[in-house]
Symmetry: C2
Subunit: 360 residues, 2 copies
Amino acid sequence: MNREEVFNFAAGPSVLPQRVLERAAGEMLNYRGSGMSVMEMSHRSAAFQEIFDTAKASFRELLQIPDSHEILLLQGGATLQFAAIPMNLLAGGTADYAVTGRFSGIAAREAEKYGTVHIAADTSDTGHDRIPAQEELSFSDGAKYFYYCANNTIYGTEWQYVPDAACPLVCDMSSDILTRPVDFANYALVYAGAQKNMAPAGLTVVIVRKDLAGKALAYTPDILRYDTMIRTDSMLNTPPCWCIYLFSLVLDWVREQGGVEAMDERKRERAKLLYDVLDDSRLFRPHARREDRSFMNVTFSTADKVLDAAFVSGAAERGLLNVKGHKSTGGIRASLYNAMPVAGAAKLAAYMREFEKEHV
Amino acid sequence: MNREEVFNFAAGPSVLPQRVLERAAGEMLNYRGSGMSVMEMSHRSAAFQEIFDTAKASFRELLQIPDSHEILLLQGGATLQFAAIPMNLLAGGTADYAVTGRFSGIAAREAEKYGTVHIAADTSDTGHDRIPAQEELSFSDGAKYFYYCANNTIYGTEWQYVPDAACPLVCDMSSDILTRPVDFANYALVYAGAQKNMAPAGLTVVIVRKDLAGKALAYTPDILRYDTMIRTDSMLNTPPCWCIYLFSLVLDWVREQGGVEAMDERKRERAKLLYDVLDDSRLFRPHARREDRSFMNVTFSTADKVLDAAFVSGAAERGLLNVKGHKSTGGIRASLYNAMPVAGAAKLAAYMREFEKEHV
């Protein structure tokens, strides 16, 4: 298949901007006259340090991250942060977790190893088709932090408000970081696996309020301690250099496109194309409740598994790849991250209408 | 600088085979007709699973790893393994550590969080210029494992024998894996950061005896548990897909070159070119004792820091890059990993002779 014929709706790792891949391919064997690939550079070299510093500065500027917060470029994915966060910030106390999907559920269970977890909300009773309202959230006294996952990739729900809690917020923004402005003053910590909106898999970005670091449990591995990683500027050991380089190219691209405000507009445009079809449809049933639905992952199904499968394979024949739902939910899922062109969502919407005409 | 004019002697991340980079660049925007980059593929896709399985199978075949051992493809570098190893294998008992350089020293200190560490040898008294002989090693009764670092990148020493211990061996082979055959029957666990001989930074390969997994400390993060990662075939979460793809290309290249036996011959050839100069020299002083010196990192200096710096900058003018010694030792270091052509070592040797003529 030619690249031009394909729109890749994978939930992550997922599509990267064409221009980013072209730049990376063009300088792959010789990065800007260095005589070597970025993959071959010492992480202590001036050339790599510049890539690293530029990525951090661009990210800080694009998201207006205040000086109170440090940006860490780490390895291990969200799953390693499920442990690192309570090891560093919970330290035997209590934290409130909102369970709105698979990953917040795993995060809550992992945190139980390191302190007391209070479940502030759990939407599993309705198949995680919604986000709890502010008044549904149950808080514990003296909680160290309130934890939530901003966007639930599997279920296609997204918090459309910032929870109001007495304690600092911790948020997994793996699937919607860089898609909207964020007020970091609300957050103790925000983190995101890079493989949806930022870079290839292998990089995890953590934005942590500096004054909260330094209270880790004694047995915390050095490399998981936020204070250590702040002190070493994420280079206690060799960082994932290639991912950081791609991250810097993606950030350049976001800036060229108009920043996170432009990403915010475009995500609405893309999602609307699909939700408009769903709202009109007599065949497709959206999984998420209307007011809580995600701009990133549009989840739906027909009443018929055979028809779902026919939709997915028909999509693939048209170059609309990876629209099969997660194995735990079945059905159909289209992921619409920053690098998905509006034309991709439009083509998928057209196919949905066509499919409905044929099957209703 | 053109790539053809450069030999990159960086200690890691370091040079990759030209052919590997060319293949990766060629399929970067469209991997074998998939219409997408490997960086954009779901880690659950058939195309990526094939890359993953092929890499593991190639690695197993090249190093003749027995079925008793599992191969894990992880993130976090050696530094994360410094904690993961004792969390999984020490579990409050005692382990013996040979401290022969910076990284084995850090590993020993990290392990103290998780049990009792007995220092089986420590070569810091002579500036880590040597490897302890078998009879120098002090063992403790009932140790869970004996830990050593096969090659000391900073000091340029390398174990030329496999230690004989009553307990299973754990070995950090970050800088000499894939450069020689290894008898895995001796080892409980072997691990290596990929960024010297295997792949770009961001991948850590762990080869662990399966029957030793499953005894981790209760607070071990799930993603650091070897039993969990064996059960999920290293995909509890998204693996570092691009690094694994490059790893598979590097393994193809090693096989094409004649396997680890050919790498073993070539490393001797490269290192001999430099050590022959050092053995004849009245200007350069090798850091490591002759019988313990490394095939990977050749470390030396003149008696004069100004002259060392002149050597390093003269080398750079000739395209012989990154020969400055580690900041903790000073002097000069040439790293000669698998992807360094013999011609690179020959050119450096010629420059050393030329420099000596001018300065003696």
